[in-house]
Amino acid sequence: MHAFDWFGNHFVLSEHRVIFWEEQQTIIASDLHLGKSGHFRKSGIAIPQEIMKQDLMRLFHVLQHFGAKKILVVGDMFHSTANQELQWFAKWRNDLPHIEWVLIQGNHDILQPDWYAAQHIALHDTFTIGNLLFTHEPPALQLPVGTQAVISGHIHPGIHLSGAAKQQMRLPCFYFSQHQCILPAFGVFTGTHLIKPKKQDRIFAIANQTIIPIQ
């Protein structure tokens, strides 16, 4: 875990690939890709189903650990069209009625609106809390009046490290540029996309169950 203040907000970056926002008692997560294993399995590709279980367990763990009241998912919560793993999620969600749930719709979130409603998940294209804007894809446009920074996902950021003697490594990371934060993908069954940070950007890599500030 690593405390990080951003535009007057107190964030805790968790090695479970989420941000806990203290003032709002909110977990911010991105790219869960729930149901991905089920989607593969339905198509005859034998991915371990354990993946889904692990992702739900980790999510439950961070909600509990931080005592969060709310979760804000900045897109790609579900991987694809409906499958039975979503019923699994629904049952799991049912056991956490006290958690307020907001989903910023990502390109993978293609389920029927009714379904989200039934799970008490509020759907939004973008969302604003205080001085922060939440979107799925990092926006190309200017920030709306009143907001100072944007938090998004979509990219699955990863950082490539290289050192002396041709040492190399690739790790998922949190990425903060001047007015923008990109979260790592939460789902276990996701890859990373390498980003090329600028000098003034802040990077926090996730390795070995710890957060390691890179720059």
């Binding site: 399995r41 189903q49 039975q84 490290l161 050192g163 003697a165 041709k166 490594m169 890859g191 890179i214």
Partner: protein, 840 residues
Amino acid sequence: MPKKNPAKQPSSPATGGKAVVEAWLVQKGMQAFDFQQETWEYMRHGQSGIVNAPTGCGKTFSVFLGNFIQYIDAHPGEWPSKKNNGLQLLWITPLRALGKDLARAMQEVVNELGLPWQVGIRNGDTPQAERARQKLRMPEVLIITPESLHLLLATKEHRPLFASLRTIAVDEWHELMGSKRGVQVELAISYLLQLAEENKNRPQPLQLWGISATIGNLDQAKEVLLHPLATQGVIVKSQLQKKNAVHSIIPEEIETYPWAGHMGIKLIEQVIPIIERSNTTLIFINTRGMAERWYQALLDVAPQLSGAIALHHGSIEQELRLWVEEALHQQKLKAVVATASLDLGVDFRPVDTVIQVGSPKGVSRFLQRAGRAGHQPGEISHVYFLPTHSLELLEAAALKTAIEQQEMESKEPLLLCFDVLCQFLCTLAVGDGFTQQMIRPVVERCWCFQHMTSQDWQQVMLHITKGGKALDQYDEYKKVEEVNGLYRITNRRLALRHRLHIGTIVSDAMLKVKLVSGGYIGHIEEYFISRLQPGDVFTLAGRNVELVQIKDMTVLVRKSNQKKSQVPSWNGGRMSLSANLGKVLRHEMHKVATQEQHAQPSPEIAALTPLFQLQASISHIPNNNELLIEHHQSKEGYHLLVYPFEGRQVHEAMSAILAYRISRLVPISFSIAMNDYGFELLSDQPIPVDDTNAYELFSTEDLFVAMQHSTNLVEMSTRKFRDIAVIGGLVFQGMPGEQKKARHLQSSASLLFRVFKEFDADNILLRQAFQEVYEQQMEERRLRQAFQRIESNSIVIKWPEKLTPLSFPIIADGLNRNNLSSEKLEDRIKKMAAALNGRS
């Protein structure tokens, strides 16, 4: 082809089919070779076996004329008129390119014999209508690739197609064995044998004939092929000797010839006269990217050859390839630049010269390529070896010695390829389905699966029916379904997808390349094209084209006159030097070290003298009883170079073990590179290897433990898993017109490896990845031998200040590095982060 040749007279007067064939030969003014007659005799007696003869000596004729003889014998009187006889001879060949020529030759013979037979081809190039016709009326002879044979088994009601099958011939068995395609062939054969045994109306049992060039383990090749038959079988050997004259193309100034990383184009001036004085020349190049460059360079240097030279490799559109092959036959070309795509048995009569650019990595492969020249029994093949860097000349000298001593390498047959098995079972499930009772013995009769346990089998079945370990609830895994003991894939989409994925040759997703103005020019790997921007110019099939856009799995391009272009680097696997060649190479080095044979060194060694003198003066030249280790410090860090001369594969395992053992002494991180001569450990801190511990580090004690603990194992297994995941149906490469849906089903093999390792470590395909590393790369026996040899050597440690001629090619080869570390991950990351910040 039997030849106008003074072979000895047949011993007994021929009757029946043999008389018919011999009468035809006489009419053609030809006579059969002894080994051909021998094969016919064995076939008449219902035997199975292997025919072994050098390329171009009529191996194919031995088996297919044998089959005609049998048929004529079985149908005396009626054979000239009896039509529509059903499939008699199934001819499995690894190369599509072979099909057309072979069919043409066979049909010609059939017609001349007056046999009303049809010869058909079935492979990836066969049009749909033709396939459908074949299913209605099978030709008597069907020439087929392993993949197309499996596809045929994936069709419904395929059993009657094989009802009259008499002989299965497997061409180029030496190429197939030892690969997963070979396992595919084993499974198909065992299955067809089972069908034949179940068919009580059959007059005779099936016969099985392999056709093979010489390899080190020919007996085993026979054993593997005939394993499902459970018979001894015979090996028919031709006494014909193929004569090869090997010449090296030697750089005039060895001092200025590159030490590494080049393509040999500097020597192109020496190639032109060879092409000009030869009838037709084949130029073999190891990779497709290099072939493109060579083709361009030839055109630049010798514009007079334009129109008379062509390019041939696996990524070129089939029509173009066929045109090149046709033109080769008709002697319209002076030279063809080719990759392994022209390696095998095609008989191009006009070819009289072969140039091999870069190391062929093995004696057999070199001879195979040499065999493309002077493709007539008795003629001498002229083969030129063109080194891409100076030290390759040493390899040329070793090759010559190995050929002289007939040191052929062996092909190791594969064991327990569960990925191929999963695919095969799904293939049958797409067709008529299978029962466990019927199919399990079929599988167990294959050499590959002879040691399969009940547990393995259950896991395979679990994998394809239930998707491995599942939680039942919320699970919708769907692939193979069981109804009353019959296992089938009923979902049409799954079935279609499986059919598109049949095969064991794994390449990156390939995109078709099409001109905006119309016309396909070839295929290109997605990996390469994804790094280009519209407007970028690249080279394919010898043309420079500009990327316009990528649409529906098709790359649209337009012609470009721009001179500068990018050459695709196809991710082809790197071949490792065979153990035999490694041994001979060590001896060549020994000769240099001890100045043995100094009276008359080979031209290659003589040419390399300045390089050896440099090596000797700044470091050392190891003799047969020495292992050379060099320490070197550079801007990059601390290099430790070790030269066992055992080939890339052994070096990969050996370097991992050495790195592991050193990392137990101090916390240290390594980046590891290797080539066929030796390997490099690179670190950011001094590497503690000296006279006091060197012998210990190479000890054979606890070798297996070191192997298991070396974290490289995971890295190596990840690479193996890439192919396994594709063959076993875990990586879905998308199909035409379904991109959007497919995208949700895509994942990289390395990601899959990671999740399997974490969540289903017992998975049968994951286990196979580790097993393949143990068997193929870390094969304990071979590794132990290498370590034992080193244990008995004296270790010579040098500290050269400059890079040595031996070390340069290894250090320069920055690709495919392995890593190993005993430092804490956090510490490593912090160091790297510090480096990152220091730079920016």
